[in-house]
Amino acid sequence: MSIISIKQLSKTYASGFKALKNINLEIRAGEIFALLGPNGAGKTTLISIICGIVSPSSGEVLAGGHNIISEYRAARSKIGLVPQELTTDAFESVWSTVNFSRGLFGKPKDHAHVEKVLRQLSLWDKKDTRLRALSGGMKRRVLIAKALSHEPEILFLDEPSAGVDVELRRDMWNMVRELRESGVTIILTTHYIEEAEEIADRIGVINGGEIIIVEEKTELMQKLGKKELRLQLKTAMTKVPDDLFDYNLNLEADGTELVYSFDAKQEHTGIAELLRKLYKKDIDFKDLNSSKSSLEEIFVELVKEQ
């Protein structure tokens, strides 16, 4: 069942910039969905529209079955948002700002729940501290606490790991998994493949305002997890030797570079075997390097596939 349903959503800003182009996307209830894309791909615009901060130019969005514009009360009360920027009131205390968020979202006072959220995020002993006295990581925790204060069914985390240390990232991912266990749907944006890989059930790739692909993580990672081995040959070759045909090798740079693509996820990558064969055939090389395809390369490849 879809908890968020986006149909033909487009957004053109007043400046004429087309941030989103005809987006169609279904988010399933109870999943962790990662929206992966480079900076400026439209991730934040998409989230901002669903949350009611930016007006769509055309298209329709349902959150929890409610239209985000005509039934905005029902839709928004289900949603919690942790923004990318660390926007907090400098002079408020942690306790008052989190209680404010709960009230703002129409929920009656519940100090026990707010305390639980603050304890979960290791903020309880900072509850009387003013926000301006907190570090960036602590402010991030406060923003998460504010979003969770009103018990949302859908949680958006916009670039949650920006400026976050290892410890907080680990805590955050643990919390995200716990929330998923309790039935909360989580949508996070990131421009790190590793991050999407670590936490998500499904991944959508967005680039230039368009959703390029939406896949189960395992399937996508197979596509994205390619590595390349480049061998700089001492003497150029005119063609790949016939008995190395099975490796799907490519000759590049006027025959001076032999390129082997392999799946880094597989136990048997075939590198050792290939090198042994080259040695036997007296094919000598000056240098070698292996590299994972970069996000940009992946995007180029995904766009090409379309």
Binding site: I53, T88, L104
Partner: protein
């Protein structure tokens, strides 16, 4: 109506005033009292009464009005400008509340704060000057109507403003001069005929005149004109706010 949300915004704004009580409440009360001491008791004792009212008592309604105007505008404009400036407005925009409820929270809180300041000034004035209130109902009506109207005006200013300097300019450079020239310290009858006509274009004249009438039964313009003018200004502000919300101007892209 989402009362939890309105109350959250309202309490947040009132708490902010409480935290900065020296600036939001004590400062306007103290500075207005200086006027009572200097113009009322010191200089006023050497001046004749105006239409049977001592000079010290004559200036009280105008001074209360002046404070009410500047406080309403600065409270409301700061209340909405600051979240816009710091970015925390995202939370208000993403909350399940209507624009009307947002307005009730921010403008209600700003109007309450300036009403408290106005009442405190009236109470403090009693320590220095003897005055009476002939029409308490109208006195309260004028106070509330003015506080709400100019808080709405402040809200508009807070949305339109591009920086803190612009927030300061309107109360200091526009409202204070208008209040000084709007009959706070003199009766319009005292002016030459030409300036009497010019003064009628000053909206503050109608506020001060109507408010003074509720105290002493004397006014520069008829009470009906005063009420109509302030109501007209209120409707104007409501229409502008409605337009801002309908288009999302400066709030939503």
């Amino acid at each position: 109506m989402n009362f939890n949300s309105i109350s959250a915004i309202y309490s947040f704004e009132v708490a902010r005033a409480w935290r900065t009580i020296g600036q939001t409440i004590a400062a306007p009360v103290v500075s207005t009292c200086l006027y009572f001491i200097v113009f009322g008791t010191a200089i006023g004792s050497r001046m004749g009464s105006i239409e049977g009212v001592s000079y010290a008592a004559f200036i009280i309604p105008g001074l209360v009005m002046m404070s009410l105007l500047t406080q309403s505008i600065s409270n409301a404009s700061f209340g909405i400008f600051f979240p816009r400036f710091s970015g925390t407005i995202f939370e208000v925009l993403s909350a399940p509340i209507s624009y009307f409820e947002i307005l009730l929270g921010y403008v209600g809180a700003a109007a309450s704060k300036s009403l408290i300041v106005g009442l405190l000034i009236l109470i403090t004035a009693r320590l220095f000057v003897d005055y009476n209130i002939q029409h308490p109902f109208w006195m309260i009506t004028f106070l509330i109507l003015t506080a709400v109207t100019f808080s709405l005006f402040g809200f508009i200013l807070g949305i339109v403003a591009n920086g803190f300097d612009q927030l300061q300019v309107v109360p200091l450079m526009i409202i204070t001069p208008l209040a000084f020239l709007g009959g706070t310290f003199y009766s319009i009858d005292m002016l030459p005929p030409f300036w009497q006509t010019v003064t009628l274009f000053n909206p503050v004249v109608y506020l001060v005149s109507g408010f003074r009438w509720s105290f002493y039964g004397i006014s520069d313009v008829s009470i009906l004109t005063s009420v109509s003018m302030i109501s007209l200004f209120l409707v104007g502000c409501v229409l502008i706010v409605w337009q801002i919300f309908a288009t999302g101007y400066r709030l939503k892209d």
